[in-house]
């Protein structure tokens, strides 16, 4: 998780859908997970700690989770990363 130096291990295969996966993530990292498909729907309050779920694919790029069906995600994911919302905004 961005901002936290210690990683965690997660067995994604035991989850039947994204809802269960998000639930596990929230429990593990105790943060608000934003799940909106369109980023312009996201409203972050000042000082609010919230993150988006991303994963590193086979090409080393950081990609938002949930744009593809779960089965496709499971077959391509190499590493998971919970990223701050600010990372998504234009620099």
């Amino acid at each position: 998780m961005e901002g936290i130096p210690i990683g965690r291990k997660l067995n994604i295969l035991v989850h039947r859908n994204y809802r269960e996966l998000v639930k596990t993530w929230k429990h593990m990292f105790n943060t608000t997970i934003l799940w909106s498909r369109e980023m312009d729907e996201i409203v972050v309050q000042p000082g609010e700690r919230c993150h988006v779920l991303t994963y590193e694919d086979e090409e080393g790029d950081l990609v938002i989770v949930r744009d593809v069906p779960l089965e496709m995600f499971v077959s391509t994911v190499k590493r998971l990363k919970i990223t701050r919302v600010a990372t998504f905004t234009t620099s």
Binding site: D40, V63, L70, T87, F88
Partner: protein, 139 residues
């Protein structure tokens, strides 16, 4: 043979992530494909499941990529509209400030608007949104 000629086919259950939409995370489940008998409909020799084509999209200045299903779109207009929402950009800013590039099967990056939609659909391997102020330097 009567009109209900039967054939063996591979079909995914309707709640499978590959068979349905991706809108609600509760609806997707990872299930195993099952063999089932598919009745033929008149005029069709095969029942085909919907083909999807997900490509990665990166926007200059944004640290996280997205994926878009190109088969959900039928023109650059609807695709640009979707990309705009994905990256949280207002309409006027997007159309004037960014240009859409695609990488073809040979690895070349091309300006999307230079080709017809169908050519783009058949060629695009990944997409990139570059600011119009960015100068592209050829090696």
């Amino acid at each position: 043979m009567d009109k209900w000629d039967l054939e063996l086919g591979l079909a995914l259950p309707s709640n499978s992530p590959c068979a349905g939409s991706n809108d609600d995370m509760e609806e997707e489940e990872v299930t195993h494909p099952t063999l089932c008998l598919l009745p033929l409909t008149p005029g069709h020799s095969w029942r085909k499941k919907r083909h999807r084509m997900y490509v990665k999209v990166k926007m200059e200045g944004v640290g996280i990529a997205r994926k878009v299903d190109l088969t959900m779109h039928h023109s650059f207009h609807t695709l640009n509209h979707a990309l705009l929402h994905m990256f949280g950009k207002p309409p006027h800013q997007f159309s004037n400030s960014y240009r859409l590039l695609f990488q073809d099967q040979q690895g070349h990056w091309l300006l999307a608007k230079d080709v017809p939609w169908r050519t783009f659909l058949n060629s695009a391997q990944r997409l990139k949104l570059l600011r119009t102020t960015t100068t592209i330097v050829r090696n």
